[in-house]
Subunit: 306 residues, 2 copies
């Protein structure tokens, strides 16, 4: 089993507060680190967690408001100052190539590695060896995306009794079947599918970025292990939330409920709740039970449901 950990690096929005830095989420999957958004100060937030900023392989930017990307140039430069050699992949909406080329040309600075900036759009599916990233349109004041991290399907459960009934002796042959290899017992071939249950779905994490509530995000979040959703304001300020292209905590909870998500993290908390964010959790919990307000440096292990 590959360890999957979500690390909240910055959980505020617009401008930082002493309590919350600007949006950034690390997903540690095995030895790889994926970064979603990169507000100013993210490199230093990373240094205060179990993550290594040198292990970041891919960065996904939701949109081009400064609070979501102004940590990129410093992070890119620190990677170079620490002699990074492996390439870095940065994904984002239309314009990401131009933005990245502007960011790396600020001031005196030399890259020690390649950066590949990749424009992605609604409906794109980026396939990697052990996971895929689905790209969704978000509904914000400027072009914006949401991202879905989906671990690939795992092999089905090993049926120990079935294996014994087929004459497989306990021991190393069990492991071979579990790893998907065929074996031979008394001249007979036994295939993994003879003793493994149906493939089990992988773990799923959804990050909405900045967005009004969207049915399409609810659909894409179906049975997600964790939905990290825009929850900038409480419902008494729903007009303001609407005006600035954000969701209320209650609206985030309704999306989580529709999606039958396993857990909801309220994210992109307005500076106005710096001292007291309980109101957000309270109104969300009336709609969806398994909810928490994300706080900087929270680390969450995502385990298999099946």
């Amino acid at each position: 089993m590959t360890n999957l950990t979500v690390v909240f690096l910055g959980t505020g929005g617009s401008w930082p507060t002493p309590q919350r830095n600007l949006p950034a989420i690390g997903i540690k999957f095995g030895s790889e680190v994926l970064l979603f958004d990169c507000g100013e100060g993210t490199q230093r937030q990373i240094m205060q967690t179990s993550l290594s900023f040198m292990k970041i392989s891919k960065i996904f930017i939701t949109h081009f408001h400064g609070d979501h990307f102004l940590g990129l140039p410093g992070l890119i430069q620190s990677m170079a100052l620490n002699d990074r050699s492996q390439p870095l992949h940065i994904y984002g909406p239309k314009g990401i190539e131009d933005l990245v080329s502007r960011l790396v040309s600020l001031g005196y600075f030399g890259l020690t590695y390649d950066i590949h900036a990749n424009e992605v759009k609604d409906g794109d599916i980026l396939e990697f060896k052990k996971y895929r990233i689905r790209v969704l349109r978000a509904d914000h004041t400027v072009p914006a995306l949401a991202y879905v991290f989906e671990e690939r399907e795992r092999r089905g459960k090993f049926d120990r009794r079935k294996a014994i009934a087929l004459g497989v002796p306990e021991g190393p042959l069990f492991g071979k079947l579990q790893r998907g290899e065929c074996i031979e017992v008394h001249g007979r071939i036994i295939r993994p599918e003879d003793v493994l249950g149906p493939p089990r779905k992988g773990r799923k994490i959804v990050y909405s970025g900045d967005t009004r509530p969207l049915e399409s995000i609810a659909e894409a979040s179906k049975d997600a292990d964790l939905l990290i959703h825009d929850s900038t304001l409480a419902s008494d300020l729903s007009d303001t939330a609407h005006e600035f292209g954000h969701s209320t905590a209650k609206e985030a909870a309704i999306i989580a409920k529709k999606a039958k998500a396993r857990m909801l993290a309220l994210f992109h908390i307005s500076p106005r709740y710096a001292e007291d964010d309980e109101v957000l959790e309270k109104e969300a919990r009336e709609v969806f039970e398994n909810v928490f307000v994300a706080r900087d440096f929270m680390e969450l292990d995502i385990r298999y449901q099946n």
Copy 2:
């Protein structure tokens, strides 16, 4: 008397550590805040001190290495999000106009106030109502500046006995003379210079930026109340310091001693001393007694010496 406070906002260099953010120094003079350098994360550092980021009137950038200016775009944007209307002045080496115009054109964002970017060079003296800023060349790997903050001369000491001898009655007329106004006593004009001693020099703070030790900085720091000097490395790494255009703690102390400065702050501390910076203070103190290693969030009131 105008209060003068130095606030160390970020005291590290190159990349941040959990202990130190990137270079930034606030000088609070009365109700005005001057900012010297602005590493990534400076706006959030400010929020954790007695300073208000909205009160910053002028920003002085020493050079265009990312650790000294990448906090500008976020700070500029947060000022706009908080409806700043008064203009902001940014000073720096040749290229500052171009840099600022690039920084404000990153991503979606609208300014609510004017930014005036001003190129300054060695020898320039910027005159303001209550202080002046002298600009000096620093000696770094790229074009770099040092800045001297000099409070204007104050009126001389009020000679109470002389005033009484001249027939001035104790009371409000004393205050008028102290404020520089002429008064009339029994038909005779008494001028402030009759009862005030010679003008007293204002307070002086020098910030070297990133630099090799320079005689010219020592001269400009003569009798400074505070010299904030590059002290990236200890003397066992003086070759590295030289190679990268920095000073050792000992070299900083020699400059302070030559200048007969009142106090030396070791600044721009390399990440390698994150856990233990005592070595720097120790080697500097062998040369210059009144020295300390600057740490993030230190606030220092600068009082009159005379």
